[in-house]
Symmetry: C2
Subunit: 148 residues, 2 copies
């Protein structure tokens, strides 16, 4: 008999990994209609909150490395969703700005949050329990992020 600690059903990470993948898959057809991937959608969320940010700020907000974000932004630039231009005061920075198309996507994607939100609702995940879940996930993220 395998030890409890090695049972797949006792792993937090496998649950997070699977839930993350499946929820991302739920976004896929909705975003795909508009030529977007899920990480690209996250970049849009960041830029909709605050436009014209350097690569580094976007990466930090998403807790990703710039070597992940740079190619992603280049693809978004190729799609005409953002522009990338050298910073004026600091020539090392690449400032990422939304194009008209990028701003316009917010209206087109307006139904997505609710569609995905309702897709995950179930017995133990409700408007009442979500804040508790958010709190635990935030704690895990904070805990792990500070260890790195």
């Amino acid at each position: 008999m395998i030890e409890e600690k090695f049972k797949l059903d006792n792993q937090l990470c496998f649950r997070l990994y699977t839930a993350s993948r499946l929820l991302t898959q739920a976004y896929h057809p909705l975003l795909g209609e508009h030529g977007l991937t899920y990480p690209q959608y996250l970049v849009l969320l960041v830029l909709w909150e605050k436009d014209a940010q350097p690569v580094n700020d976007i990466a930090k907000r998403l807790l990703l490395e710039t070597n992940t974000v740079t190619p992603l932004l280049k693809r978004m630039e190729a799609e005409g969703v953002v522009t990338r231009s050298k910073g004026k005061e600091d020539a090392r920075q690449m400032i990422v700005k939304l194009t008209k198309k990028g701003r316009g996507l917010q209206k087109k994607l307006t139904d997505i949050p609710e569609a995905v939100g309702s897709a995950v609702l179930c017995e133990s995940v409700t408007p009442e329990t979500v804040p508790g879940l958010f709190g635990m996930l935030d704690d895990i993220i904070k805990q792990l992020h500070h260890q790195i």
Copy 2:
């Protein structure tokens, strides 16, 4: 002002995605010592529970596609952790078996579950609250898996 539904801080998926990535990163140095990646570790967990399974059963257990698992298993075969051989009754199947090295890894990785487990412990994630978290994640996974 951006709508609440588009705020990054209100997204469940971003939390799951980030928590999953960071927790996987916590495994990385521990597994890397033994030449393993996190998905490869998951395959080991599956095979330690039950050796000699076809590709399809492993993929189903991990809720992955075979086109993800096949190359992964080939890399594990190249590392001498598993063998892959045609099934006797069904020649379409590839039966994946642990090698001596693959079985031996269980002893070498014996400290990893506790090391990672203690790394995530924090105010809101404790032995008392983990079952509730597991329940919610399991519900989300079940809910989304059945929609596909």
